[in-house]
């Protein structure tokens, strides 16, 4: 991390976000939280529209897909340039 010469790294933002340990701590929660948010949205939609299991099931899978997509994107942006 070259923080000593103020202006050299101002040209374009880089997308290397977190080194190893931070990445390890982010990944697990990302997957679970996405699934939970999806399921919660489906549950609320069911509660609102009185259509018991349908939205919950559909949004459960949407949430899981969102979690997997998040994890995949996170790993792709963080391991390409960084030398692990």
């Amino acid at each position: 991390m070259e923080t000593n010469d103020g202006e050299a790294h101002l040209r374009k933002p880089r997308r290397r976000e977190v080194p190893g340990v931070g990445l390890a701590m982010r990944l697990g929660t990302e997957l679970v939280v996405s699934t939970m948010v999806g399921t919660g949205l489906g549950y609320m939609a069911d509660h609102w529209l009185k259509s018991s299991p349908w939205f919950t099931v559909v949004f459960l899978f949407f949430g899981a897909a969102a979690g997997i997509r998040n994890v995949y994107r996170l790993v792709n942006t963080n391991t390409d340039s960084a030398s692990t």
Binding site: A24, L27, V32
Partner: protein, 75 residues
């Protein structure tokens, strides 16, 4: 059996999901180290898949935790 006691036992059983996560982490990192030892040049490519696999393995344990918390809310 008392309903609260049954709920507490259920919480403990839900937390057993951590065992699966432990097995998964052991297999994952054991195999990963083996693969890197065989082919050290492939480490940078393998790292990506190790992280993705770790996310899924860790998620198993956290799903167990979520189930335990849901049961705690019902009890």
């Amino acid at each position: 059996m008392d309903a609260t006691a049954a709920a507490l036992i259920g919480m403990g059983l839900a937390a057993l999901g951590f065992a699966g996560s432990g097995v998964g982490l052991g297999v994952l990192f054991g195999k990963a180290i083996e693969a890197i030892a065989r082919q050290p040049a492939a480490e940078a490519q393998l790292a990506k898949y190790i992280w993705i696999g770790m996310a899924f393995v860790e998620a198993v344990a956290l799903y167990g935790l979520v189930v335990a918390f849901i049961i705690m809310g019902k009890a």
